[in-house]
Subunit: 384 residues, 2 copies
């Protein structure tokens, strides 16, 4: 696959966008109220369903992932609704705050950053609170590099308790396993620029029949994130209620095509293998992941800085001398960790170049890598 | 100027996007938390200020125009706030409804569609209501092809009454006169895909110091359209709070460059001349504009169908046989009018090809054009 790169974009979104996806944005402009658009949108929806592994309704918002997460809240949560939110990072914190801000009552199931709360604590929250309306789970906590490994069980728990199950899969969908229907996810939210490897600006989401029915009967007062309007327009004419980012829709379709051509399982395996190589290589260098082993993400890898590794200096050298982009820490972790996006069209080449640049940058900063992480990573990447 | 076209996009948005703008979207991906992005965003903001003729703060949302209009409402209007809204079309209706839906109290100053309400009625509304919080004016009513020709006076009226003045300039900014500071516009909202001639997906808006202060002190409960967050991120680091549609930002900057290179006054004159040719040409064909003469827009031209001109058939022939895209009517006007977007990079070529295609399509539908509208238009377009 050919990728035009200036930077090697190893961020937790945006990620490297393949030229085939970029080129799709040059498709000449069309009318968003026409058969041309309807054909495009229907195609996008059926391909999104494949990637989400769902038969649920799909809505593609022109917004960041935050917009779609907010849509999942303002369309489902009303005054005094009880909402369980596992909180172990910035995005969980934000989500719980949003629930409270709009009048719901968030029940925060906390765990130290870098760990997942024991699922028993979530079960208990259901047992101790009558009439829980919904459970919001951040499947992948981008700020800390952790992934909730019991999403399937959360789906069952929600089903048994008559609660909506909402998965914030913004930084993970397309890079790890998330069979929406099998896991009983009522609302699944993601964004175009993460593991889907399209440019930023779109936020696809799936909505179950039960959630859709509720949203249609209880729409929010506002317009732009009012999903009832999206259902209405799509139902009547396969269009969106407001002018969509047409060029990005073309790019997103191309990205979906690439995912389907590769096959979802192959793609997930590739992410897993790349992540394994990153973790092993960096540990060999003497670096340690921020997340506890059983919570580690395959798509966003957060690494503790060693003493003497200044965040700004480290990433500045990587960016200007090696043109490799990594992210810094977020919120509480600012300056304490760096984060590698291992997502989208990531391959062995991306990993080796990134590890090589990190190793070289450590040398420049007079922090000698402990061992030969490059060989360790190479072995993992080339293992059958 | 070279434009790659499949369709001639004569819609009231999206419009024809010049190749230079389209090509900018291929710029390799960058980190939205980096100097690369900050440079891009600052450049966009200063160029947007030029085009808005303002020194006010600029925010560029990743959303449609509706998103930015909604932002102007949810950040300014609180429970029971009195809001004057001239209503003479679908977008005025929607805006007034949104104000009511979120708990404000819209004072609708109605006029028949196709006409502007007398400014005296708006003055009276200020006189008859104490403590009006804001006046929302749809500068160009896209649904009917009318432009409010007394925006400058509305600005003075608001100033004298201590009310915020908000201009919904979604379908007009860049195509007609709108000096934000001179006209005392507190919040001016537009969208990328209209007279600015970029692809859809971005909504630039300007916010005065007074409005900004109010928004910072009274933020809404939600996140995505919460302008306080945009001010905070921009103030701290010249970034956006949520991942922006980076590729569209590059396109939008290029579109701004084209506007500045041409010169705002030249651009407005060009729109005016093109519109004059369209109106005169179509009237010569025997068609009549929907809007009353003193309210007619230079950017969106709504034309009444003659008997026997079926909307679907007419626009289908134009689209499939001539590859010219026109829009149909909207809401109440569905099937009764067609609409021509005369905006963005529109030139004499676009106008002549459109008029020629309309004339030919009328012939195909057995409705003989009355007179030689093509020569009439050509004379106007080639007049010095």
């Amino acid at each position: 696959m050919s990728i035009v790169l200036d930077y090697l974009v190893m961020l937790p979104g945006p990620t490297n966008v393949p030229t085939r996806v970029t080129s799709a944005m040059s498709t000449p402009m069309i009318n968003h109220r026409s058969g041309d658009f309807r054909t495009l949108y229907k195609d996008i929806i059926s391909k999104t369903q494949k990637v989400f592994e769902t038969t649920n309704d799909i809505v593609v918002l022109t917004s960041s992932g935050t917009g779609a997460v907010e849509a999942s809240v303002v369309n489902l949560i009303k005054k005094d609704d009880l909402v369980i939110v596992p909180v172990n990072g910035e995005f969980g914190t934000r989500l719980a705050d949003l629930v409270d801000n709009i009048g719901g009552r968030a029940i925060r199931i906390k765990a130290p950053f870098g760990e997942n709360p024991p699922i028993e604590n979530i079960k208990e929250a259901f047992d101790n609170n009558r009439g829980v309306k919904a459970l919001y789970a951040i499947y992948n906590e981008t700020s800390t590099g952790t992934t909730l490994r019991y999403m399937d069980q959360l789906g069952k728990l929600c089903k048994n308790n008559g609660a909506f199950f909402i998965a914030d899969a913004v930084s993970i969908l397309g890079g790890d396993h998330l069979p929406v229907d099998e896991w009983n996810v009522d609302v699944c939210v993601t964004a175009s620029q993460k593991a889907l490897a399209a440019p930023p600006g779109l936020a696809p989401m799936s909505i179950s029949n039960d959630a859709k029915k509720y949203m249609i009967e209880n729409p929010p007062a506002t317009q732009y994130l009012n999903l009832k309007r999206y259902f209405k327009y799509f139902g009547e004419s396969n269009e969106t209620p407001f002018t969509p980012a047409i060029s990005l829709f073309y790019a997103y379709r191309e990205a979906l095509d690439m995912i389907i051509e590769e096959g979802l399982q192959n793609r997930i395996d590739r992410h897993k293998q790349c992540a394994k190589a990153v973790y092993a290589g960096l540990e060999e260098f003497g670096l340690t992941p921020f997340a506890k082993e059983n919570a580690r993400s395959n798509v966003v890898i957060a690494i503790n800085y060693l003493q003497g590794m200044d965040d700004k200096k480290f990433r500045e050298i990587l960016s200007s001398q090696f043109r490799v982009l990594l992210a810094g820490g977020f919120g509480e972790l600012k300056g304490k960790v760096f984060r590698i996006g291992c997502m989208g069209e990531v391959t062995g080449y991306h990993i080796m170049r990134t590890l090589s640049a990190i190793s070289s940058t450590m040398e420049i900063l007079n922090i000698k890598p402990k061992g030969d992480g490059l060989s360790v990573a190479h072995d993992i990447l080339t293992a059958l």
